[in-house]
């Protein structure tokens, strides 16, 4: 029996997931801010931050789409053991994880309906690094403007134009994360 898939989860789930969620919530509420997140040791190629987000938000009720290199045996079994989340294609997922290029095209993910705009996917985008530079962000959660290193700008502008429908993004790198809800104007 291979036991490496059994490790790397939260050792104190209720407290570690509470801390991890606060980091995710602060990031989503204040687009552009970068937060530390810890507690997970997922198998490669998942970052610790992406692993912690998955452990915090996923369970048997959340179909997850593994995009690109994350769709490997190690990640599948780790996710299955620690969360029980069913795997799905992009069109039926609630969460997706992968590098920006592997997640494309964004049009394949659910953006919610006009009566239930919350029934939309959240994309966890693995990045090489996160920095408070690059694209300028405006919108709810931001006092005036914020800056964040984004993998694209046009895609987020298109996503913003669909409001209140749209996708929400969590960017992860190492042990850090930032987020971009559908409300943020990117320029």
């Amino acid at each position: 029996m291979r036991t490496e898939n059994l490790s790397g989860g939260f050792t104190d789930p209720s407290v570690q997931s509470a801390h991890a969620f606060r980091a995710v919530m602060e990031a989503m509420a204040r687009p552009g801010t970068i937060h530390d997140i810890a507690g997970a040791e997922p198998p490669a190629p998942l970052s610790r931050a992406a692993g912690a987000v998955l452990l915090t938000l996923c369970d048997t009720e959340t179909p997850v789409h593994l995009a690109g290199a994350t769709d490997c045996d190690a990640v599948r079994t780790w996710l299955a053991f620690h969360t029980g989340a069913p795997l799905s294609g992009p069109s039926h997922c609630m969460l997706a994880v992968g590098e920006w290029g592997a997640l494309a095209p964004l049009s394949s993910y659910p953006v919610g309906t006009s009566e239930y705009p919350d029934r939309s996917a959240t994309l966890i985008v693995e990045c090489a690094e996160l920095a408070a530079s690059g694209a300028t962000l405006r919108g709810p959660g931001i006092r005036e403007t914020a800056r964040l290193s984004l993998p694209d700008t046009e895609a987020f502008r298109t996503n913003r134009a669909h409001f209140p429908l749209g996708l929400d993004f969590i960017f992860t790198s190492g042990s850090q994360l930032a987020a971009l809800p559908r409300t943020t104007e990117v320029s």
Partner: protein, 283 residues
């Protein structure tokens, strides 16, 4: 703390609530349905607020609960004790020391800061519910941003009373999209909703809805050009601290018509009294 999972709720329930909170923050003012649980208190006592608080609390938080501005009323005391027992967290009555504040029907007088979270207890989350009882219809109205009915209601107020007679749960529009019920806070508090530095989360347990305002979100109280929004307050100074800027409760003192006006926010009033401010009724 023993015999409970941290913050009472099981982890799967917290994950479900946390996912709803994230979508609520991404769509400010939109009511996200969630699978509200039975809590060890009756509906109407803050079951929605308690579930949201349980989902956001960490062991390092300092928790404050207010009921109509007061820290020492039954609802506030029992919810504070609930989380002392089930989460083992520190509590406070000081607004500035708290990191998470659960509130029933008031926003603290002291401006909130970044890093704080304000959790509202909400009885009826749907602002259109008393105008249109069918959920299928109100959901359609929100999806089409069809809020004419609400303006008709406010207009009828004006034609009947000469002014907009709604004094609490005064409807607001969030980021020029969703009309939202701010919970039954006095309309005096409505301006504090907008451009607030703290995260504002709203939980309705019986009605199974969560909604949210991220920091620095534009929240406008509905009004008309010729009848602008007026956040009125009783035209008196506080009897204990003398403040002329706070929201006041009217307290009947005897059976001979005696009355006094005191700050509804007990922590704010005590802080001012400790700083030497005195009103005419202070002993």
């Amino acid at each position: 703390m023993s015999g409970y999972n941290f913050a009472y709720l099981d982890e799967q329930t917290k994950r479900m609530i946390r996912r709803a909170i994230l979508k609520a923050l991404a769509i400010p003012g939109y009511q996200v349905p969630f699978a509200s649980r039975e809590m060890p208190m009756p509906y109407g006592w803050g079951t929605g607020g308690v579930q949201v608080s349980a989902a956001v609390l960490t062991p390092e938080d300092r928790f404050k609960v207010i009921d109509q501005g007061a820290d020492d009323t039954t609802n506030a005391v029992s919810i504070r004790r609930f989380f002392e027992r089930t989460a083992g967290i520190a509590t406070t009555t000081a607004t500035r020391d708290a990191t998470v504040i659960q509130t029933r029907h008031r926003i603290p007088e002291e401006p909130l800061r970044e890093g704080q979270i304000l959790v509202y207890q909400v009885p009826i989350p749907e602002p259109l519910r008393f105008l249109e009882p069918r959920e299928s219809e109100t959901r359609k109205m929100h999806s089409l941003a069809e809020y004419g009915l609400m303006h008709v209601k406010l207009y009828e107020d004006i034609s009947r009373h000469g002014h907009i007679a709604t004094t609490y749960a005064y409807p607001v529009k969030v980021e020029e999209r969703y009309v939202m019920d701010p919970s039954p806070i006095p309309k005096f508090d409505n301006p504090k909703l907008s451009d607030c530095a703290a995260i504002q989360l709203f939980g309705a347990g019986r009605e199974q809805r969560i909604y949210a305002l991220p920091p620095y979100t534009t929240v406008a109280s509905l009004d008309f050009d010729d009848h602008p929004f007026d956040p009125s307050r009783a035209d008196h100074p506080c009897g204990l601290c003398g403040s002329v800027e706070t929201y006041l409760d009217e307290v009947i003192m005897d059976d001979a018509g005696g009355r006094m006006f005191v700050c509804s926010d007990t922590d704010h009033c005590e802080t001012r009294q400790n700083a030497g401010y005195r009103g005419k009724d202070a002993g």
